[in-house]
Amino acid sequence: MTTIVTPRPELLDTSVRPDNYLTYTRGFLSWALTLDHKRIGVMYMSAVLASFFVGGVFALLLRTELLTPGRTIVSADTYNQFFTLHGAIMVFLVIIPSIPAALGNFILPIMLGAKDVAFPKLNLFSFYLWIGGALFTLYSLAAGGFDTGWTFYTPYSTTTTTGGVIPVLTGVFILGFSSIFTGLNFIVTVHKLRPPGMTWFRMPLFLWALYATAIIQVLATPVLAITVCLLIVERTMNIGIFNPSMGGDPVLYQHFFWFYSHPAVYIMIVPAMGIISEIISVHGHRQIFGYRFIAFSSIAIAMFSFIVWGHHMFVSGQSGLMNTIFSLISFSVAIPSAVKTFNWTMTLYKGTISLTAPMMYGLSFIFLFTIGGLTGIHLATLNTDVHLHDTYFVVAHFHYVMMGSALIGMIGGLHHWWPKMTGRMYNEKAAIAACIIIFIGFNVTFFTQFMLGSQGMPRRYYDYQPEFQIYHVISTIGAYIMACGFFLCAACFVQSLLGGKKAPANPWGGRSLEWQCTSPPPHDNFSSPPTVGNCYDFSMLRWDEKEQGYVVDKELEALAIAAEARGHS
């Protein structure tokens, strides 16, 4: 079932033993056909970052177009294609796979103490499905593009004359399976491949988050597959499912779509919350506050996520009774989110906080997620939502959650595990500067959009009233600032790959298992079985002058393990 079973013969001969997963084998095929979760993770990460660049370029084009009312650089039809592509690429190709498939693939088995995921071949297949989905999305551009919005609302999506609708729906269908397989793999891995001593409540919170995410991926994504299938059937065979002129119901489509796409919001944010739990605790060198509350809140969010989809449809013609019920349930999501935020903040209390680049992203996350979460209250409340629905207020709200939280969490996680993944350190000061520039740019861009929205500017508008221009100009300037930050961030990583200082096994003083193996990890992750302890006990750390950071003190560690053993007996 996994690579655990037999060590490869060449591994037994220590003289030829390669030192890490990157140099284990060489050549294109050794990557293209690899079953190593770490290489698959790295390939996913490269593909996701490339997509992020493309989606980001579209975002900048959009913001540039919106500098002035009327035409600035492109026509209305081109603009409509731009915002559709920006949304579809960022959601389906970037944020959904970014943490589970890219970072999760790399980190989950090591963190768990396993040699690989439960089904390595399925893992590789899931990556190729992602590539297939991405190619279909690219092909849709050649086929005439699509201007439906990433939500594909009917009957517009079944009647629009742009030729790329069916290719991109096929792409989304395939990407969905990629997501399902990753989720399935993670669920089985967490259940079956935990080494002795790794009990559920010893698992790092990132694993709890990935586990909760995997459940949503497996349960919700099939509904998306069915929905896009029905859409393709309606568009190609003129079978009336959603189009009222053929006897269908457009509101039914919205129910189907949001039954997936609301949980999908949590596929994006929950793993980022897991990363933040790790970052705050590891870089604050402080036992996470309220481990169980955080772990259970991930599961609670995963469950609630399935029963709140109707809040996307408060003005859609859904009945008042349904709106009332969905509004009430939607507030339930606020509770676990609040618990997490307060617990992270309390984790800083009496910590030993190192303001490293990952920590800066972690603190940015708490700031941005608090705003993103609190503005959700305006939208869950029925009478205020009627005014704010489908305005820039919603755009700002979900960018604070999707980008300011999920994506910032992902970038923070990338900084956190970068030394582990590449074996190289990056320039800390430059990385912190990039984080601050992104943070400022982000707030300038999106906080303005809250005002724009509550003042009544509808979303997806090519042309707008002159009184909104000042907000749009500020927002666009913010987007440019943010782009500078991301370029600086990318430059840091490139510099690190080319000439970064060699990374020690444990640069931050982390206690979870991935910090016990070398950086980068060997092909089979651990040369000897790892010892599982309390991954949030930082008492055995001491300041090391040479490393200019906290390292695990072997003597203190032995004492702590002995103390824990006594406690258990």
Partner: protein, 382 residues
């Protein structure tokens, strides 16, 4: 907590009896002009203050802890922080829950008021289409902008000709999707007249994405005192009838063309529909293949053919736009059946025949009606 709840309750109760006024725009919200706006704004502001409070608490704690517990090189690891605190954790689960339930409740009661039109409401029929609005009144009057009486609840009964649209009037804090295949309704009441001047009217937007012209579906809402409104209503129902036949094409034509100009240019610019430039010459000369099925004008227009005259063809193109598609253009034009009367169609046809008298934006450039127009426009009357 309790005091917050009480203040919400008192505030809600007092607002329901307060006399309606126009609330000026502030940092967050635009001008509020309907009787419902006050409740929505109050709720919005209460939620805002709750958000400010929690945001400041989280931010202050975060900044304080980071400054206070920041590790300087060489600092020993602190191990005296507590690992959990059940009472504390339960309290920050339960208190937000109670606040949320309270917010839900007041949002819900406000929403019920927002969606329940009073019985004596004045109905306006609204048709949304790609990309425009048609407002129809009980007496048959039609308007491109929404004109409503003041001091009286107005109910919009809305339907869509094609895809999803959404009617949003920010100043009234109301919004409702318009779903093809069913009616949806929306009501509001505005007590402060704006006058008939378009620039004083409130914005009306489409907020459900509907394609190319989505952002150009903005119209204005004008509020008139009842007497003035009644007068407007009568005049609006008869405006086409009051124009003499021979002045129809330059008086009514440009007004109606305003609804066509998003897709049909006058100067040959390619739009979503064919340009009107030289249309009459094309229609009356033999020409080659014109339609997507390879037919030419001569194949369908002429005595004994599908259309006896070019005028018949144009009329049918307005009422049944998908019947003959000009090559390379899609079937995207909505039907204007029931929206454009015969006199309206005559105005459009008359304009097409005299395009040389109009500039690229559809404004009539002459000052005197040419006598030649007289006979032609007469012959179109049925």
């Amino acid at each position: 907590m309790l005091s917050t709840l009480t203040s919400i309750f008192i505030a809600t109760a007092s607002v329901q009896t307060a006399p309606p006024v126009v609330t000026p725009a502030d940092f967050w919200l635009p001008i509020g002009a309907s009787v419902q706006a006050h409740n929505v704004d109050l709720m919005f502001n209460i939620i805002n203050y709750i958000c400010y409070f929690f945001f400041v608490v989280v931010l202050a704690m975060m900044v304080w802890f980071v400054i206070k517990y920041r590790a300087k090189p060489g600092t020993r690891i602190r191990t005296d922080g507590m690992t959990h605190h059940t009472v504390l954790e339960l309290s920050w689960s339960v208190i937000p829950l109670l606040i949320c339930i309270a917010i839900f409740f007041f949002g819900f009661t406000g929403y019920v008021d927002l969606i329940t039109p009073p019985k004596n409401s004045f109905d306006v029929n609204v048709t949304a289409f790609k990309w425009g609005w048609q407002f129809k009144y009980p007496n048959g009057a039609q308007s491109d902008n929404l004109v409503v009486p003041s001091n009286r609840p107005v109910r919009l009964v809305m339907r869509s000709n094609d895809v999803l649209h959404c009617c949003f009037i920010p100043a009234f804090r109301v919004k409702k999707d318009i779903v093809p295949g069913r009616y949806s309704t929306l009501w509001f009441q505005c007590d402060i007249p704006t006058g008939i001047e378009e620039k004083n009217g409130y914005h009306l937007f489409c907020t459900e994405y509907c394609g190319t012209g989505h952002s150009n579906m903005n119209r204005r809402v004008m509020v008139l005192p009842q007497a003035e409104f009644d007068e407007w209503l009568v005049k609006q129902a008869q405006w086409l009838d009051e124009i003499p036949d021979d002045e129809l094409y330059f008086k009514a034509g440009p007004k109606i063309y305003a609804r066509c100009q998003q897709c049909h240019s006058l100067d040959g610019t390619v739009g979503l529909g064919p340009s009107w430039q030289g249309v009459w010459t094309r229609l009356t000369s033999p020409g080659g293949a014109r339609f997507s099925d390879g037919k030419s004008y001569a194949d369908i227009i002429g005595p004994g053919k599908e259309y006896a005259t070019p005028e018949d063809y144009i009329r049918d193109s307005i009422y049944n736009p998908g019947k003959h598609l000009v090559a390379t253009y899609g079937n995207v034009m909505p039907t204007f059946k029931g929206q454009l009367t015969d006199r309206g169609v005559d105005s459009v046809i008359g304009m097409m025949k005299h395009l040389d008298e109009f500039d690229a934006k559809g404004a009539w450039t002459k000052t005197l009606p040419p006598a030649a127009a007289k006979t032609e426009s007469k012959s179109e009357q049925k």
